[in-house]
């Protein structure tokens, strides 16, 4: 069978196709079909010749096979030092092999490769920091995922996720109307507590354009309200776009580069349309990576930057606290042992390590903050990055992968983990569910709202 009805090389681009795929419980039929779809070896090789240039080729060639990257990979460590988890091995036995064979690989090989690409690497890029040659296996895995996606070998949820972006320009079936509607009523829910709280949609020329994660809209709109409250109290002139509000990109995890481009274009269009001074994104790691770090290249912006200056929520927050736009009541600072999860996507891969620590200085009573070890750009992945969290097929592997973070947290003795990243937040929630170590975890917004020293004129009148 060259192509399956559900599992095939064609991206999802209609709501009907999405629903059909969704209704295939656990992707049962999808994965069954995958076992017999054909590999288009010509296309594979042509794609490689066009897109695999000196950087990756050199990496594959000069890799000394020295194994120094092994211990840098948390998946190697957590899988009882299984040599098959050595980063160099994972990439040599997949992408390396495909190139050596000039694309002549079979279905079986591709299925195994898919498992490695999505369950043995979270694209956390930590190994790049430990290889003497500077070989970044995470980047190569990302590239490999693109090849696999093109051939139809992609986990079910990620095919759906990329399809969501294609159909809804959001990672979930949240329409622009849903977004604006939800945003408005959730803000309404909080109006009494914060007089004057507004839900500004599509304001031209605002100082800040705020973008979110569709999950906030769908499952915890509180987060939208909290963002509104914090901007309101900080006295910011801000807005959200009615179109182009979604910052995330499951298509990046899926390796669907065309969908990545479509998604991020909507955000850039919103920037061009509303002409804000800056864009602030929500507390999400991969969303920031997609829209701010990688996105400009997907759409072909030569300077590698979005149309307007774009920052992560923690950068805005750090600045607001530092400049006194937001004031913390020192009596209400956190007085429990607290630790911080550094997200790979904006700490290792965008250098934001000091912003979060600036925030910590304001909100945690001195002496109560404990760093994880390792930390900052050397921190381990939460265990659920790169799409790992969402793939049902690899759930057992994912759960095992959480042990790294669990033990890191345990050895800090912290009771509260601040996780300003959706993926990390999820992974930590799941690890508590899986291993019950008695911790709490939180985004920054709710924690900060509780300890704000609100100026007199913004408080509710008695």
């Amino acid at each position: 069978m060259p192509e399956g009805t559900l599992c095939n090389k064609k991206p999802i681009d209609s709501a009907e196709a999405l629903n059909t795929l969704l209704s295939d419980t656990s992707g049962e039929v999808y994965y069954r079909e995958m076992k017999s779809i054909e590999v288009d070896t010509k296309l594979l090789w042509k794609t490689i010749q066009n897109t695999c240039k000196s950087r990756i080729r050199t990496w594959l060639e000069i890799c000394a096979h020295c194994g120094m990257c092994a211990d840098s990979c948390f998946l190697y460590l957590v899988d009882d030092h299984n040599p098959k988890q050595v980063p160099a091995y994972k990439i040599q036995s997949t992408l390396g092999e495909i190139i050596r064979k000039k694309g002549n690989v079979d279905n079986n090989f591709m299925i195994k490769t898919m498992e490695i690409a999505w369950s043995q690497c979270t694209c956390c890029n930590r190994c790049a920091m430990y290889c003497p040659h500077g070989i970044d296996v995470g980047i190569m895995m990302g590239y490999l995922r693109g090849l696999l996606y093109q051939q139809g070998f992609v986990p079910w949820e990620l095919k759906i996720g990329a399809g969501m972006h294609r159909v809804y320009r959001a990672q979930m079936d949240v329409t622009n109307e849903d977004f604006v509607d939800t945003f408005e009523w959730i803000v309404e829910e909080y109006e009494d507590e914060y007089p004057g709280l507004k839900a500004p949609v599509d304001i031209q020329g605002a100082d800040i354009m705020y973008t979110v994660n569709a999950r906030e809209v769908k499952h915890y709109p509180e987060d939208l309200a909290e963002a509104a409250i914090l901007f309101h109290i900080a006295g910011e002139n801000w807005t959200v776009p009615s179109k182009g509000w979604e910052q995330t990109s499951l298509s990046m995890f899926a390796g669907d580069w065309a969908a990545c481009k479509m998604q991020v274009e909507t955000v850039y269009d919103a920037m061009e349309r509303l002409k804000p001074k800056i864009m602030v994104g929500t507390e999400c790691g991969h969303a920031h990576r997609a829209t701010v770090v990688e996105g400009p290249y997907w759409v072909g912006r030569k300077d590698g930057r979005p149309p307007v200056k774009s920052i992560h929520y923690v950068e805005w927050l750090a600045d607001a606290l530092k400049t006194g736009k937001l004031k913390i009541d020192p009596a209400k600072r956190l007085k429990v042992p607290v630790t911080l999860q550094d997200s790979c996507n904006y700490v290792r891969n965008h250098g934001l390590k000091s912003a979060t620590r600036e925030i910590i200085k304001h909100i945690v009573e001195p002496g109560y903050f404990i760093e994880m070890s390792p930390n900052k750009e050397h921190n381990y992945c939460c265990g659920g990055g790169g799409g790992f969290n969402g793939v049902g097929l690899y759930r057992p592997q994912r759960n095992k992968a959480l042990i790294t973070k669990r033990d890191q947290i345990l050895s800090t003795g912290a009771k509260l983990v601040l996780a300003p990243c959706h993926n990390c937040w999820d992974a930590i929630r799941d690890l508590e569910e899986e291993y019950t170590i008695g911790i709490e975890w939180s985004f920054l917004k709710p924690v900060i709202i509780k300890m704000l020293d609100i100026p007199e004129h913004l408080r509710p009148r008695e």
């Binding site: 949820e157 049902g392 019950t436």
Partner: protein
Amino acid sequence: MFKKILFATSATKASDHAARVAFNISNLYNSHMNILHILGVPSRGFSQKVTDVKTREKVEVDDEYIAWVKEEIKTYYAELLPKTKSYEIKTLIGYPHREILREIRKNKPDLLVMGRSTESEGSPVYKFGSAGSTLQRVIKASDCPVLLVNRPAASFWGSITNIVFATDFSKSSDVAFDFACKLARNINCELHIFHAQNISLTPESEIFDQDTIEQRMREKLRFFRKKYVSKMEGIDNYSIEVWEGVPYIEIVKYAREKFADLIIMAQDSKNPGSTTEELGSNIKQVILRAGCPVLCMTK
């Protein structure tokens, strides 16, 4: 008065008492009953799996599963269902508080009935990071009155004879008061208006001497009469009292003394602490301790 009621249930023992009350009301007022069951939290990031509320198992939600759950609910309430003329069973995925609130917003029921917990609150599955419980979150933001049934209600709303309205004089208390009057008129029962003067003597609280306390209670009582009595046309049987003490204890005691079948309270939505564990605890404590259902209003 209650054309549409929303009954949020886990279809487990935890909502049994609530179920009985809900179906009684539906029977009495001919109300359409909307039975809402939250299947579970989408615990798989963006995946399609949820953790089932009842079994704790990870399940894949598809049409078949939903049909099965609905059938289960029907069987569970087989005895009660005949009491209602029209009902509908609905299942949703998400955080329970959020989905309940969304449903209220969408279908505008006249009353929400729920048990104390539609989930076991300790479970990390439902823990929303470090924020408050489902109950607190629903009460805080609900547009309609919320009837909470924690313990077996003697009367099951079959024959309400005594309503206790506990006020803290907030704006939302006024709304709750209007509702209490309406209800009292409607079912022709006795209304007991009550305020508990908070004098829990913690080291931080100002220490009043007894004269001041009594002086203030007299003032409150006078204020009370002015504020409320004028609006109570058509209600013949009522009493007004002010007690001193820890509010929730006094409310519960008072309700017991008056053989209350229902306590009506307001949640002060302006109190920003109301979603956190510490605050809003007045209502929470009353719900936990009262021998009758508690009706909460925010708006």
